[in-house]
Symmetry: C2
Subunit: 483 residues, 2 copies
């Protein structure tokens, strides 16, 4: 086994952090083939000396190199070059700033990665934006499976825009919220997230400004932030987006509105009917096309929310995104985009090149379920239970948190958007809570600046487990912060 000689030192006057100069150097040496796989590295002490850096800087660099697979560290035999050519490319791509530059993907943030991993384990998930397993309508699915089992003659690639029977059912379903459309104006996607992705890849002009509510769900994604666009937060009042605070684009600039007018994630705010009209008109006047994310459209408690922007749109200026994830089952991965025909055609075309369409199985099962008259009964019950859980969750918060927390009562959706007293350090609380197997979403994930909020989901966990989670958080808050 060959041991490597190192005769290079980082440039301490350069803007690039030293640890990163070191990872770049490793990556470069391996990518060029100068450091072959299997070669042994000098000890940490010797390396730090050779580079003229302190141990902790070196270790930061080595950790990252281990994470991307360029080196492995074996107790006994020390560190060895293990990277193949992919890990070398990976190391290059891990560099965030490069991604942003290239309009490509940024790695998910640390907190989100942690949540995604944890969400599969047996922890109390006040973070999870999904329907509760208890509400899963197994009987509806069983019926659909049985029917499908009898009739299925193949499961081949589907029509590019999605199976017609499903698009017909969606069109019917949309009439209930005031949208009158045709199957040819509908594109079925793998969840509405994919639709956002498709729009951002194929319709966003470079350097466009995307105006959105602050805080907003999309801030927690990298979809819009990766496409050479500027995501700009606009405050809300109790009626929703304060549209007049936008700067209208100059004649040769482009801007787009992305809005969650109904049960905004994370705040739960519903844009009033009047504000909807005004926003539409403002958008029309200032050449601002609108993306309307209606993921929570069907999960109201007692009263149907105002009609979607799309229902009021006479010029095709609104692209509407619906989803079955919040009212039935996210695992189906089915969403629908409603737009003018040329827009649908274009998105369909790009979508075919992305993954050839959504699962036919999911599409067929959903078409069966939507056509089942019992779906209405399920929905009504689902909403009733959800409203009860929202009330129970708020009663629990009043019991434990009244001294240091405030929130607005939601009228639909899955979340409580809770402001905590300034004394509570939320990133610290997050770490303490995950160590105790309780997950919540720090509000800063959704915002354009750090804030004092947490997002608590009352939908996924039972009220008993919600209370247990709050008890643990309460303990942690009292033990660690001066409230």
């Amino acid at each position: 086994m060959q041991t490597l000689n190192v005769n290079w030192q980082p440039d301490k006057t350069a803007a690039t952090p030293i640890y990163q100069q070191i990872t770049n150097y490793f990556q470069h040496q391996i990518a060029r083939g100068d450091w072959p796989v299997g070669a042994k590295l000098p000890s940490q002490r010797k390396l730090a000396e050779a580079f003229g850096v302190n141990r902790s800087t070196l270790i930061t660099a080595l950790d990252e190199l281990i994470a991307v697979g360029l080196i492995t560290s074996n107790p006994g035999s020390g560190m060895v070059i293990s990277g193949n050519h992919w890990s070398s490319l990976l190391a290059e791509h891990v560099n965030w700033s490069q991604y942003v530059k290239a309009g490509q993907f940024k790695p998910n943030s640390h907190a989100l990665q942690k949540i995604n991993q944890f969400e599969t384990d047996a922890v109390i998930r006040l973070s999870t934006g999904e329907p509760a397993p208890e509400q899963f309508p197994r009987a509806l699915f069983q019926k659909a499976f049985a029917h499908l089992g009898q009739n299925l003659t193949s499961l081949n690639y589907t029509e590019p825009a999605g199976i017609l029977a499903l698009r017909q059912q969606i069109a019917k379903h949309l009439v209930k919220v005031g949208i009158h459309t045709q199957p040819e104006n509908i594109l079925i996607t793998s969840g509405s997230l994919q639709a956002l992705q498709l729009v951002s890849m194929s319709l966003f002009p470079a350097n466009a400004t995307i105006y959105t509510e602050a805080p907003t769900y999309v801030k927690s994604l990298h979809v819009f932030q990766s496409a050479q666009t500027h995501l700009t937060g606009i405050p809300m009042d109790s009626q929703g987006l304060a549209y007049w605070q936008m700067t209208p684009p100059a004649k040769d600039e482009h801007a787009i509105i992305y809005s969650i007018p109904t049960f905004n994630n994370p705040t739960g705010i519903v844009m009033s009917a009047e504000r909807r009209q005004q926003t539409l008109q403002y958008a029309q006047e200032h050449r601002l096309p609108i993306l309307e994310d209606a993921a929570y459209q069907d999960v109201w408690f007692d009263q149907q929310p105002p009609q979607p922007l799309k229902a009021l749109d006479t010029t095709g200026n609104v692209i509407y995104f619906g989803s079955i994830s919040k009212s039935l089952a996210p695992g189906l991965r089915i969403g629908w985009t409603v737009a003018a025909k040329p827009v649908i055609d274009r998105l369909t075309d790009v979508r075919m090149q992305t993954d050839y369409g959504a699962s036919s199985l999911s599409q067929l099962v959903l078409a069966e379920i939507l056509a089942d008259p019992e779906y209405e009964t399920y929905q009504a019950n689902f909403r009733k239970v959800l409203a009860k859980k929202a009330a129970a969750a708020q009663a629990i918060l009043h019991r434990y948190w009244d001294d240091f927390a405030t929130w607005q009562a939601p009228t639909g959706g899955f979340y409580l958007w809770v402001r905590l007293a300034d004394a509570i350090n939320i990133p610290k609380l997050f770490d303490l809570a995950t160590a105790r197997n309780v997950l919540f979403n720090p509000g800063s994930i959704y915002d354009f600046a750090p804030n004092q909020y947490v997002r608590l989901s009352f939908s996924y966990e039972s009220s008993e487990r919600f209370e247990r989670g709050i008890q643990i958080l309460t303990e942690l808050i009292h033990a660690n912060f001066a409230v």
Copy 2:
């Protein structure tokens, strides 16, 4: 209703085609808000005069503007500005060259769009790369549905890399082809197409060269061509990729190999065991990471093909793409990527931001089916039928086409790669055939230069319908070309 005044003329000395200058002008006027929705256009005659262009140029421009929805033409009332802000953005994005520049998506080619549309109709599809509906194992699916119906407790977002039970089944399945791997080295995607997409978005360095067999399936996609990379075709001989014809990348350049070593689509060529070893070694020496597309791995006729490159890969230099589309059901949209852990982690991360994972329903059903001992029986029978259909298809070609066509007998896969006599104009034959409801894929879709080949699928249609299709093509050939 306002009628527009036009005082602008295209620059006849500019490089941009005149019709495109006109569409750009319209798009610009509408995007800036200068031409409001509802405004009436002057007549075609007046417009042509005002622009100083001939009618046919004008009509080309108007057709494109109608296609993207910027204007509508109503008999009686003439042409009206109908575009909203989205259609205006669309018009901008329809410009191919801009896409390529931005590393974004190019519209699907005309022939492919046509095929995609037609594939949903009642035509003879010698183009379709799918298993025949007759071979669909309904009983296997019914069993899986019944079992699932009893056990399903929810359908929520899945583990980021895919449901563990499925990854375990895939790992077991892969042992049969010589790949020994762990669930944590596997990422489940929405078909293998999505995996190609993910890799190209998150691991391709800018300006990299992607070496691939010529002809190749990926040439028919825009995935790799959109990512600021250079797709470069390398010829094959009877043993597969002539790897020695590649130019090794210089020290500071990047290159990647994409190969379909087993039943190459479209040619059916299988890379020999020896060539696999040599290619791997060459790649290792010249710092070329490898993408191995194994979509047809399981669809051999009589004899299992040589082990995948991945089975021989000791350094993690190969990323392997498998799929259930060709051996069971493309409508499940399930593929699997096998790679070193850091690569899987990175792809998983990007994938979560793209669509939150593949349909849980598809994943669960496939896990059930792969675990069913009868899956083996199904597979064996599937292969036998496929081999028979391949033989029947060739007998048919011998009967009708021996005078003007040649091909190599395939040993697996779905396709005959048929060279037609030079006298046959393939684009013309394609148009004539679609008019007669027969679809085939022109070979040029897959190649780096025009060629005299067609790809005929013997998998999808029955041998009777295959023959009918060939009869119609034979008629067309005799009536139109001097063979």
